[in-house]
Every structure is written in structure tokens, then in C-alpha cells.
Symmetry: C2
Subunit: 215 residues, 2 copies
């Protein structure tokens, strides 16, 4: 089995999204150059990425948009639906539950878990919030992906339990770097940290200007 870098997989996701957009505009074929331009990369990169998975497109004609879209969907494992458990029914968890695009892409949140007795038993988007104490029992039903939307201080302990319960893939929204054993796929999304990174740059640029004006 060939090892494909995560950056390549990320670009395949971008290509797929762009193909779906041009498909909606009625476009049937697209050159590697045009796909590259829209993806903010080069035609050579597009061809190299795709060559890892087979032969696509015809010289002088370009890629068939529906064919390449279907191929990318298959490569990315998006032809099937993945069972997702959401741990954390706070503000972030609720926003994620309401995010319909997940379902459209085959990621179906089928259970919601929270530690707060005040939240347990509530119904959110048709799902009853279940207690954290039952996590192992719930995950025993077979989940593919766990989304963690818990406070930073609780995230590692929850992640450990999720891994022990046999879940092999995790999307972490808690603002903390989690440790997971080899063989468990972990991705982290952190809007607050990204915003604070921007804030740091802005504050620093402002300070630099002030220094320059003083000097």
C-alpha cells in the first residue's frame, strides 16, 4: 500500500470541491491548468497528485468532470457513509450538529454525548444527549469517527477513552494538542487558535509601526 502524504489528500479534497462547483455550473470537462488555477496550485502538481491513483483525463481534452469527481470520491472514501459520534454538546458541539454539510458529505452524527447532567436527556437535532459515563457502551455499537468538542482540560481523558473503545479516527475541536497511539488518525480544527494567531500578527505589526514612528 503506497503512503500518500496528507498534503496530497488535502489537495484531492480541494479538487473534488472545485469539480463539484463547476459541475453545478454545467461544465463537463476541465483542463489540469484550469483545475490548478482554481485550486491555487500548478498543473504539474495536479497531474502529479492524480497520477498516484491512476490515469485520468485525455491529452488535449482535459478531465471529464463527472468521472474525476466520482474517482476522487472513491479515493477519499466518500462513497460510503461514516458513523460519527459527537462528544460535547456545548456551543461548538451544537454548531457542528447543525452543520448540514457533514451529512451531505457522508459523515452522519448518530450519537451525542456530554458530561453535564443538565444537558443529558435533551434532544438536539433529533438526537438524545447521552451521559459521558456510558461512552464505552455507546461506542461499542461501532463508530468510525469521534468528534471531540469538549473543554481543553477534558479532551485528553476523553480521547483516551474513545481510543480504548476502538474508534480509529478523531476530529478534535478542543484547543489542545492530543496524544493518540499510532494507528489512530487525528485531525485538529481550532478556530480560536487561528484567530489568536491573526491577532498576534496584527498586535505585533501595530507595535512595530509604533516603534518606527518613535524612532
Amino acid at each position: 500500500m503506497k503512503k500518500v502524504p496528507g498534503s496530497t489528500i488535502g489537495r484531492l479534497s480541494v479538487y473534488l470541491r472545485l469539480l463539484d462547483e463547476v459541475k453545478a455550473e454545467g461544465v463537463r470537462t476541465l483542463s489540469s491548468g484550469e483545475l490548478a488555477r482554481r485550486a491555487g496550485t500548478t498543473a504539474a502538481q495536479v497531474r502529479k497528485d492524480l497520477s498516484l491513483f491512476g490515469t485520468f483525463g485525455k491529452r488535449g481534452v482535459g478531465y471529464s468532470v463527472p468521472q474525476l469527481s466520482a474517482a476522487l470520491r472513491s479515493i477519499l472514501g466518500l462513497e460510503r457513509s461514516w458513523r460519527v459520534v459527537l462528544v460535547g454538546a456545548g456551543q461548538m458541539g451544537r454548531a457542528l450538529l447543525g452543520y448540514q454539510d457533514f451529512r451531505r458529505q457522508g459523515f452522519t452524527i448518530e450519537a451525542v454525548i456530554d458530561s453535564d447532567p443538565a444537558k443529558v436527556g435533551q434532544r438536539l437535532q433529533g438526537l438524545e444527549v447521552l451521559p459521558l459515563g456510558r461512552l464505552e457502551e455507546i461506542l461499542g455499537a461501532g463508530f468510525d469517527i469521534a468528534i471531540l468538542a469538549v473543554p481543553a482540560g477534558a479532551a485528553q481523558a476523553v480521547a483516551d477513552r474513545v481510543v480504548r473503545a476502538g474508534v480509529r479516527a478523531m476530529l478534535n475541536f478542543a484547543p489542545v494538542k492530543l496524544q493518540v497511539p499510532e494507528g489512530v488518525a487525528l485531525k485538529t480544527v481550532n478556530m480560536a487558535l487561528e484567530l489568536e494567531g491573526l491577532s498576534y500578527v496584527l498586535a505585533n505589526a501595530t507595535a512595530q509601526r509604533a516603534v518606527r514612528q518613535e524612532g
Copy 2:
């Protein structure tokens, strides 16, 4: 002005969040070891990160939680409020508008822009959706950060206009890699891409198991 790596800034955000969590639990001092443990890093890393910005903590006592928290807030530029414009009032944009934590952290969405005539004029969280045609005029009022929540195919053109209008920091939620000139800070958040990265790993692992069983 010293150049601080983005990874350090990311960890400072994590430390700040953990300090705020333990502060809420009534903890007044924290050792570098304990902060490191909660952040999933080492005490040496914590001390190295903080040493870039000054001297914090007392040997044998640890860090004063409120003091270090205030210092990190200042370093990250979180003592002031940043004016944020949101471009894109689709599903993602609406979720972001409803995300109260942004405001709590000093990021105040003060304008919402969309290209869809059906959305323009609607009120979302007290803000009137303004037309994309007026983007330059709106940004002329002085915004620090633009959040882009537009379709992938539209994102680069919108980013170009935002940059020309003088905004120096952008948080991109569109599933595409944007090109921005030097001096403009860009961060990207992409939940769909992260999920598809997990999906690829899961699909690949399943295929590997099937190959092994056949072999």
C-alpha cells in the same frame, strides 16, 4: 522585533486556554510541569516558549495563574477588540455569526457581506447582510480581520478585493488554498478537508485489512 514561530504562538493560545480553565476551578498557581502535562507538551517547551517574552513564574512556586493569563492575553493581542467583517452568509457564515466565543475573545463581527440578492437585506444576529458590490466601501470603514466563508470558486477573487481594501488578516473557511501578498496574515480552517483526511485513512485501512485477509 524578534520573529516568533507560528507553532509557539499556537502553544501560547493553548496555555492561555488551560490557565483560564484552571482559574475557573480556583487554582492560583501552576508549575510548568503541570501546565505542560495539560497542554500535551514538556515543561522545557513551556519554559522556552515563555522565555521569548519575558520572565514568568518563581522557582519552586510556579506561575501565578492570573498574572500569566494576563501576560499571554497581552502578548496575543487579546486585550483589545478586533473589528471583523464576515464575507459569506451561507450555512458556515451563519454558524460563525452565532459562535459567541469569538466575541468573548475580542473578535467582534461588525459587518456581514453576501453576493446573493436573496440574502442581502436580511438581518442576522442584529446585522444587516450587505451586498458584495459594496465590499470596498464597507471595508473602507476600517476592519482588522476578514472571515471568508464563501464557496471555493469565489474565494480567491474575494480575498484579492479584501486585500486591496487594506485588510491585513484573513481567516479562510473556503476549502481552497488562497494566495495573499506578503504582509497579509492568512489562516485557514477547513473542517470538511480534515474530515475527508480521516475518511481517506479509514477507507485505506479498510482496504488494507481486505488485502491482508485475501492474501
